[in-house]
Amino acid sequence: MRPITIALTKGRLAKKTLDLFERVGITADGTKVEDSRKLIFKNEELGLQFFLAKGPDVPTYVYYGAADIGIVGRDTIMEERLKLYEVLDLGYGKCRMCVCGPESARKYLESGDQIRVATKYPNIAKDYFLNRKHQTVEIIKLNGSIELAPIVGLSEVIVDIVETGATLRENGLDVLEEVCPLSARMVVNQVSMKMENERISEIIRLLKAELAREAAEKAAARR
């Protein structure tokens, strides 16, 4: 049997995903070992294997078919723009893609003037400003600590992921506009979806049922 390969985004997302898989009875050797140096975790019996990759690489692994399934944030899917099936909203890793800056920068967003936008997500930022706001902008691609850009005068605003907003506030920045909500998604390679339809559909069905059950439980607890 050809193994089904699942690419996970390194870090918190991977941990949450492995927990979810465990709750539906899918485990893999070695995933429990903290700080393991192993790259691939197998479950020979179910014909499954997991590996960890950097977020932006997950859609690439899946697009090329090196992984059949990927677990990755919606931000990465939107930014990488590869043709993939996006089959499941896992509901965790919730945050928002936002335009942020000092309160004084709000006027630039209303005026339609050309402004500079620093971001790790040039495609998302370009799409938002050009196609949705119809504002001409200069996109400046950065690789980290995006909050720094408006502080040191590299850009007027930034487009970045906001979870709690604590980092922003600490640096005197605010959310000025929301681009879209984000959460972890399951993506599937187009070819795998056709060639391994039954096995992949079964995994989706199991996870979906578990997510629905947990959501119902939560709703009941609230009541």
Partner: protein, 334 residues
Amino acid sequence: MNTRVIHTPEGVRDIYGSECREKRRLMAAIRDVFERYGCEEIETPAIEYFDVFSSDIGTTASRELFKFFDRDGNTLVLRPDFTPSVARAVSMHMPEEAMPVRLSYEGSTFRNNAEYQYQGRLKEATQMGVEFIGDGSAEADAEVIALTCEMLLASGLKEFQVSVGEVDFFKALVEGTGLTDESVEEIRKLISNKNFFGVEELLDGEDLDPTTKAALIRLPQLFGGGEVLDEAAAFSDQGRTDAAIARLRRINELLAARGLDKYVSYDFGLLSKYRYYTGIIFSAFTYGVGEPVAKGGRYDNLLGNFGRDYPAVGMGLYLDQLMNALSRQGIRQG
């Protein structure tokens, strides 16, 4: 100082040696299959007027076309695919009495895409394909799908799936719902990405008939063997969607009779951004490449753009993708 240029521009490449030999052998094998199905070869020019590929006809985004001008200032393009060219040529040269015809073509197609860095998406790519013109029957649909299967078998592929959908099923569902063109396009994208929760979210605020809503949400998951035809029937409450299902059933029977049904599955969420498709639509998938190796479908209104009212169905093979798949699966020609 003059630097001698010996490398190619980005997105195009030289093919030589054993790769070139393999490519030629593969093309010969595929040409044999086309011939067995009674196809006549046709050549159309690589340069066409822009209008042949304009957005009314709905093939390639204008920015992805290589455009230039002739001496009179007309806009010309390098063909991005063959179907509109062949439709134009047929409208020009073939009268009603000549119908039906089966044509085959091969040659380079050109796309000025930015994604050259992704696998297999070169700016110049070889396509081979067929167009069955003047025959609107389900039998013609089944013939083209059968030809696609036999072509892939002749190439040496053993594991592949031809996924067949019906764009009219989707078109009939969204028609009369009062959804804007933008929403329909958004839903089309979400459905073809199998993003049913996105469809659900988008339709949440819309005032739609509950059966239609349920069908649109279900569409991305409506794929698999012949049994999905029965499932789709449950969502069908009008003549046009019934007709779409009846047609797929007939195609399924015809393919089963030839023993090709094991290579074929059905997918109601298979939709194309090419707006010229009117009926069945299909994509052939195999291991080793991220995208379909061949695509096709029925386009009954395309020839209308050139003044002829001929129904038509066709298939185009992305030869470079097929070669990638063959080499990654360790299959050699001849």
